[in-house]
Subunit: 205 residues, 2 copies
């Protein structure tokens, strides 16, 4: 029997979700919450197997709610169920600890499958979400940086100094400096650390 808790501000959605879950073999939903604070408190008392979580909630955001719940219960599985398909929110939710992300038009059969999938160690996502997630691994093609600049940037990301980069690429320190100037201009940054941060965040290397 999989015990599901629901965090969702819309009463109609909340109740129909609970009804769906309670009328499905192997699932039950004894507790629902209208906002995060009570969910965080309630889940501390009565620990479910899975939390279905909305993102656009009154008061504390769902993302922050996920973070707080996972702090106390790292092994609890949280599935986001929301209308938000905005890139930032998806990644924020996953970083906060969600292990699944479904958009709200998901058919009920898929929702039930998703919960079963989570219990088998999966991470169910709606198709567009999965593509966004996988896409986030892909390197930017047609980089604005030249091949040599990328070489230098790669070394930089290993924490190398100008001197070490020069040795490693068999060019003079002055040339390294020159490439760095060009990189800074293109990335619009002004220090090694900022360049590294930008390069890693934007998958330039």
């Amino acid at each position: 029997m999989i015990n599901v808790a629901i965090v969702e501000d819309d009463k109609d959605i909340r109740e129909s979700l609970a009804l769906l879950i309670n009328s499905t073999d192997g699932f039950m939903c004894t507790t629902t919450y209208g906002e995060c604070m009570s969910a965080i408190k309630g889940i501390n008392e009565d620990i479910p197997d899975i939390v279905l979580m909305d993102i656009g909630l009154p008061g504390m955001s769902g993302v922050e709610g996920i973070r707080r719940i996972k702090e106390k219960h790292p092994d609890l599985d949280i599935i986001v169920l929301t209308v938000h398909e905005n890139d930032d929110i998806v990644f924020e939710a996953l970083c906060a600890g969600a292990c699944g992300y479904l958009v709200k038009e998901t058919p009920t059969s898929r929702l039930l499958d998703a919960m079963r999938e989570v219990k088998h160690g999966g991470a169910p996502m709606s198709t567009q979400i999965a593509r966004m997630v996988v896409g986030s691994f892909q390197k930017k093609t047609e980089s604005l940086l030249t091949a040599r600049e990328i070489d230098v940037l790669n070394q930089l990301c290993k924490g190398k100094s100008y001197r070490m980069i020069a040795d490693s690429l068999s060019i003079s320190e002055e040339t390294v400096r020159r490439h760095l100037k060009s990189i800074y201009r293109k990335l619009e940054v002004h220090s090694k650390s900022e360049a590294v941060a930008k390069a890693l965040k934007e998958n330039l290397i």
Copy 2:
């Protein structure tokens, strides 16, 4: 009609996959390859809609093959179909441009679904793979760094100087310097850029 190419060194698997695809409505497979080089060449002539790609191939690795194929055909969808569930290979394949990753015990019906899913903008993954991918977003808990050190590290990742970090956290530059010393010792690094690189790669922040 979805045109599928197969890259797979095992003749039996290759042929049974082709047979499956050709006997399914809406799919066809006219070309199969036993290793990467001929696939790269062949795909340049005869462009399929989807490539099913093995990873453990003789000669060029599947990962490198994916990279080469995506270089020429950035919009071509490549699904990895392999026995490898090793973390590194999964992420390497996705970084190289794969948009799906299935383990070989995947039932044929799921394989066909996966190809349809890809054509609808999805990114089909086996359950364990999806969890690995989502897990890679999650921050390390129980950091070896203190809360304040993480504050400083966060600022560092925005490319701030000591002076700017000091202002932004309302502490003296000397204290920032002190925290940085402690961070360097714990992360075993010796520069801002190296610390940023390590922090971002290890999801410390």
